[in-house]
Symmetry: C2
């Protein structure tokens, strides 16, 4: 019977994203000999034969609904907390204000760990477990560490995590309570990465750094599948993505290409927009200068901590994705993104993270310049929940005694 | 055509939960003349005729999949952030440790605002909007305020919220950034309730206090529908619920009765367990003493702030639900629940809130006493995400310099 012979995954091999060297997929793999990331390649012809988008309809609302296009070969290795199929929400009131009546947010705040990093961790940890990994290590700006610590605990793996001292406090809690070995570094994620790099070599651990293993991106790409499915396979015109390491935008682009090969979407692709912070904008700079790679951004800083990445390993892939889709890259200020965060909460009840709010600033600017047209369908990718960032909201609240009345001047 | 004539909601009337007086459903309503909560009643015979559980399969994964059994009459009044159909997760490693191989958690951490309060707010705000409400007010221990402020912002309603000074800080942020009028009180939720009560009367606002309007519970009951559907309409043996105001347990019981009337589940019901904190256990005390109502618990306190409710308006309904299902009530200590929170995170990667962790302590005790049998299917209801409670996790993390190695003694 056909259903019995259909594999759980159509993973076929790994391909270097730069030199296109091919690697076997079923042993632990990190970077290509040329130093570039490896990407998972699937037998999409076979998948196209066995899998139709209609088959997805009754599947569970998690990213594992796309399991044939994910790298985990055996269902018993799936490590899940129910992640994926996050809401795609229309923003009618804000859209009317901004003359973008078809404005949406893909809300990754509603996912285990409150951050889209859960997608990469779920698939990355599952595949690491399948490949026999016992101990993994990674640098992080916070949310990825929280997510990987969480999923590694669920899988029974040992985890070493190094994060900048200034990373969000709540992500420390996530790592610590999950039993990860957690360290802070007085420096940036690049400093944390160097420490992890030496430790991984010394102890033969599995390096789970961004794009240094091939499977985190496979989890992230499911955002692309979900957006297409939630729009009934009519892709939107523009997707704006807050870009640090850039794995999400690379993943979405990979998903779009796979869906084309599967015959699930047509030729037209959404224009992908990489949004960065003004004081950490290496990819924007490279895009403006027509370069294919970025240069390390000195003294980077932004309140949107997740996109404080001065040089991303996958920068050339982000730039590829933007150019191939006629997208663009732009940087926004911290002041603007904090104002946008409040505006979205007040008009639509969405308390999103600062990184996500950056995409709203960018959308406004691109609408003002005419790059986004009023009739276009625009998706803001919000990468996490605002509740993980207690310090970005300044609150001053009146204190009453039990016998007090609500102040009339305010309440009246 | 049948589908054209089927109403969006089968809401029929309101019924007093105590004296069974009947009220019209389509005007703003609060308590019965006798002072007790009103509950929404549906035309379940008509619903049974028009709606089958099989029809749910292809519906969107949110609580609105049950719209016929919710009180909102018109789809355009639905105020949604994609809430519901939260994961029902097996806990295989922890279950093996505790000799409860069929242990599950219904994880409400993965929902907008990171708390199950989003369910009540989504349905309550939608219905308030439908009934023409412009301004609502409520007391809260934090999470409900955050959720109602959020959904009210999405609906464009004005909101007044009063919370105890000691309520979780992050919930202040949610209210403030959503544009609610927020006040703190030096006291408990009962003090906040008294202030709101006076203000509502003075200004003719809509009182959205727990069970003082009939629709919050309708949102909460969907947890019961989801648990049944996720177990393929075989209800579990035991559901443990952290009980403050008790709306969730009342709602789940209501859902179970409705599903019986609809023919969706059989006669057997899960045994419902109300879990409270040792220093705020009015319902446990009433249950132990065979009373039908609780008495206000003096000087109540617990780190599980959401269940610090010294006297609940719906206490008699909670006690009804426990007795009718052969359930029970028990109290656990703050020390135990914090240990359980860490145990669950370390063994299963679930960082849940202290209130949810209380149910794990209770399950262990009931398993030890034999009240829960090893072959029974047991569901812990986790009401929210651990990330909203930064202060419940004590973290001490080594600080490294960029040139440092990971400490060998730890890393080795």
């Amino acid at each position: 019977m056909k259903s019995m012979s259909t594999p759980f995954s159509f993973l076929h091999h790994l391909t270097c994203a730069r030199c296109h060297e091919i690697y076997e997929a079923d042993t632990q793999a990190h970077l290509c000999q040329c130093g570039s990331p490896l990407l998972a390649s699937y037998d999409l012809e076979a998948a196209r034969e066995h899998l139709s988008k209609e088959m997805l309809r009754e599947r569970e609302p998690s990213l594992w609904r796309y399991h044939e296009l994910l790298p985990v070969r055996s269902p018993e290795n799936v490590v899940t907390l129910g992640e994926g199929m996050t809401p795609l929400l229309p923003l009618p009131r804000l859209g009317a204000q901004l003359d973008m009546p078809q404005l949406y947010v893909k809300d990754e705040g509603t996912i285990p760990t409150g951050s889209f990093k859960a997608r990469g961790a779920a698939v990355g940890v599952s595949r690491a477990k399948e490949l026999g990994v016992k101990t993994l290590a990674m640098p992080t700006n916070g949310n990825a560490g929280g997510a990987w610590a969480t999923y590694a605990a669920r899988a029974g793996l040992d985890t070493y995590i190094v994060m900048p001292e200034e990373a969000p406090l709540i992500t420390r809690n996530e790592c610590a309570i999950s039993g990860a070995h957690l360290f802070l570094v007085q420096g940036l994620i690049s400093d944390a990465g160097a420490i992890v790099g030496r430790a991984v070599k010394a102890h033969q651990w599995y390096d789970a750094s961004t794009l240094k293993e091939p499977y985190r991106i496979e989890g992230k790409k499911t955002m692309g599948y979900e957006i297409a499915e939630q729009f009934n396979w009519q892709v939107p015109d523009v997707i704006l993505y807050p870009t640090g390491g850039g794995v999400g935008i690379i993943g979405i682009y990979k998903a779009l290409r796979e869906m084309q090969a599967l015959g699930w979407i047509g030729e037209r692709l959404p224009r992908l927009v990489a949004v960065q912070a003004e004081e950490c904008a290496p990819i924007v700079k490279a895009w403006q200068e027509g370069k294919t790679e970025s240069v390390l951004w000195p003294h980077s800083r932004t309140i949107a901590f997740g996109i404080n990445v001065p040089k991303a390993l996958g920068d050339f892939l982000v730039l590829d994705a933007i150019r191939a889709t006629q997208g663009c890259a732009l940087a926004v200020s911290d002041t603007e993104l904090l104002a946008a965060q409040a505006q979205l909460a007040q008009t639509e009840g969405l308390f999103i993270c600062p990184e996500g709010a950056a995409t709203l600033v960018a959308a406004k600017q691109l609408r003002a310049s005419g790059w986004i047209k009023a009739d276009e369908r625009v998706v803001l990718l919000n990468t996490g929940s605002g509740i993980k960032y207690p310090n970005t909201v300044q609150v001053s609240v009146p204190l009453l005694q039990p016998q007090d009345e609500l102040p009339v001047s305010i309440a009246g």
